[in-house]
């Protein structure tokens, strides 16, 4: 008797559950399908465009992707053997300048904000907010700033490589600060506590425990920041990257300079076919460098990211 009743109860529970779990009569299922289709369409358009641009540049530039490109200086006379050595060296110098400027500056700022700043103070919050906003400011604005304050104005460096480096440093400073803060924050409190409990000072704890653990994150951020800086053209045009330089920069603080993107820009605006090909070849080089840098960043992140 009881077992029969149990059976009925079990069967009833099963039927109800089945009815509840059945999703076939749920309204608006097609909405999900349409939404998904739109998303797939968007990503397809993005990828196809990207591949088309890359391929177009690649096949256009391929004929001039030779040693002359690296060995020779830009020349408007020998168009078929013209190179871009001065642009390559200009970019290398620019990036060295950016790295040595922005890493100490950005890391220090991040340490201050993460470890020392009192976040209940209004000015600290204002600074944090502005750093985030700064990352969204158009780069040309930094160019104007660089022209007014670095090339002329207070610093008065003139149109030299380091003026370009400083301008680009301002541009990517928020990136470094934000990524470094992220890296510092991911070091667990238990490590700091362990160090402090041994009698280490706060400074020693930061220097010996927090920063070493943050190095992979800082490196990733630095590479990403440099890869943003390396492609910038507009601010450099303002602070003196000359479009046509036939010699390598003399140093960080003297002489005219050019850079890869400015050189490409100069060639691309010329009507002659050879220059168009040169521009495409330059784009391939620049893109190759960018891919290498970004892959390196991803590799470092995956290899050294610690799961505490």
């Amino acid at each position: 008797m009881t077992s029969r009743r149990n059976q009925i109860a079990t069967q009833a529970a099963r039927d109800v559950t089945l009815a509840q779990l059945d999703g076939s009569n749920r309204g608006g299922q097609w909405k999900g399908a349409v939404f998904k289709a739109v998303l797939v369409l968007c990503i397809t358009v993005a990828i196809v465009t990207l591949v088309a641009v890359v391929l177009q540049a690649f096949f256009t530039g391929l004929p001039r992707l030779d040693m002359n490109l690296i060995r020779n200086m830009p020349s408007s006379i020998d168009r078929s053997t013209s190179g871009m050595q001065s642009a390559i060296w200009g970019t290398v110098r620019l990036m060295v300048g950016v790295a040595v400027t922005v890493v100490p500056l950005g890391v220090s700022a991040a340490i201050y904000l993460e470890e020392f700043a009192d976040r209940t103070k209004w000015y600290v919050r204002l600074i944090e907010l502005n750093i985030q906003n700064l990352a969204a400011v158009p780069s040309i604005v930094f160019g104007i700033l660089g022209l007014a304050f670095i090339v002329r104005g207070p610093l008065d460096l003139g149109f030299v490589v380091y003026a370009g480096s400083l301008t680009l440093s301002l541009l990517v400073l928020p990136t470094i600060i934000l990524t470094t803060r992220e890296a510092i924050r991911s070091v667990p409190g238990s490590i700091r506590e362990a160090s402090m409990a041994l009698g280490a000072t706060k400074w020693k704890t930061i220097w010996k425990q927090v920063l070493p653990s943050s190095v992979p994150g800082i490196m990733t951020g630095t590479i990403l920041a440099l890869s943003r800086a390396i492609g910038e053209t507009a601010p450099l045009l303002l602070v003196g990257a000359t479009v046509f330089v036939t010699y390598n920069p003399d140093g960080f603080f003297e002489g005219a300079f050019t850079s890869l993107p400015t050189q490409i820009f100069a060639w691309a605006t010329r009507p002659q076919e050879e220059f168009r090909i040169l521009a495409a070849a330059g784009i391939i080089v620049l893109m190759g460098v960018l891919i290498v840098m970004n892959s390196l960043a991803i590799w470092i992140r995956n290899k050294f990211t610690r799961t505490w």
Binding site: P188, M196, A197
Partner: protein, 291 residues
């Protein structure tokens, strides 16, 4: 030493040191010798009164256990003893914590110096992301301790922490390559590497299996010869097994705010607490009727 009487807020005396009972651990004095003592210790987190009026004395070469239900402020009291609570911005400490008669919250006292003398082992093993060797060597290096031979020093600390035989062939490997129990012993070795006077342990075995726990308990008994040990534990058997004295805390809701403020109920020799508690609340807790 009269610091072990604790007036309850209601006014009655809830605990007095025993003077009559013989102790299984021969030679344990009736009153602790007083390496450290807290006097009228009150701790606040912002407006929250976490611990009310704790008076405790900790004896030299003794193991003192702090027990009590969760949230009654055991960790809070422990962290006050080496000023780790300074790292929590909202925490505020009133009353005094005397170490060799000096108030470590006094105006001239440097918390860094306090922590060099009063070490701490945490609930969750937290080795540094460095090699086993560097985990030990970090403390002495960072405080500028004079060590004749660092290799010998590392070996001595690891031996004292009963870990040497297990790690002697892989000193260069990461501290994270060890098991949880080994990591905790590494943390203990790291703590004794700076030759502290007092060692604080906050539930050091709570993440460990019975075998690792018993290894650490043996270790504590060994370390008692050289150090003063104060341990927080939820494990009643552990307190009964290893400690010389036991302090029982509980949390009492405030009549007006409803905040649960921790207070010390009873402090005595461990044998006394477990065999013959004076306070009903202690008896309920250790017999498992509460908490």
């Amino acid at each position: 030493m009269s610091a072990v009487t604790t007036p309850d807020p209601q006014g009655d005396i809830v605990s007095t040191p025993s003077t009559t009972h013989a102790d299984p651990r021969s030679g344990l004095p009736d009153a602790p010798s007083g390496v450290m003592e807290t006097v009228g210790l009150n701790v606040y987190y912002g407006g929250f009164h976490a611990v009310h009026d704790v008076d405790l004395a900790f004896g030299r070469n003794e193991i003192t256990a702090l027990i009590g239900p969760s949230g009654c402020g055991k960790s809070t009291v422990l962290r006050c003893l080496n000023r780790m609570n300074d790292l929590i911005p909202a925490a505020r400490v009133e009353g005094s914590v005397n170490y060799h008669g000096i108030d470590i919250y006094g105006p001239k006292v440097d918390p860094i110096e306090v922590r060099r003398r009063i070490g701490m082992v945490f609930q969750k093993p937290n080795p540094f992301p460095k090699s086993i060797y560097d985990n030990i060597a970090y403390g002495p290096r960072v405080i500028g301790m004079q060590v004749d031979n660092m290799d010998d020093h590392v070996e001595r600390c690891l031996r004292q922490a009963a870990l040497w035989d297990e790690v002697k062939d892989k000193l260069k490997e990461s501290g994270y390559s060890l098991s949880g129990g080994q990591q905790q012993r590494l943390c203990i070795a790291r703590t004794i590497a700076t030759a502290p006077d007092v060692i604080l342990m906050d539930e050091p075995c709570s993440a460990l299996d019975p075998i690792a726990t018993s290894a650490i308990e043996d270790l504590m008994t060994d370390l008692r010869e050289d150090y003063t040990i104060i341990i927080v534990t939820h494990n009643m058997q552990q307190a009964a097994r290893v400690s010389d004295r036991t302090a029982f805390f509980t949390a009492r809701p405030d009549e007006t705010t409803g905040n649960r403020t921790g207070l010390l109920v009873e402090y005595d020799k461990t044998s006394q607490i477990f065999e013959n508690p004076r306070d009903q609340r202690t008896e309920d807790y250790i017999s498992g009727r509460f908490g």
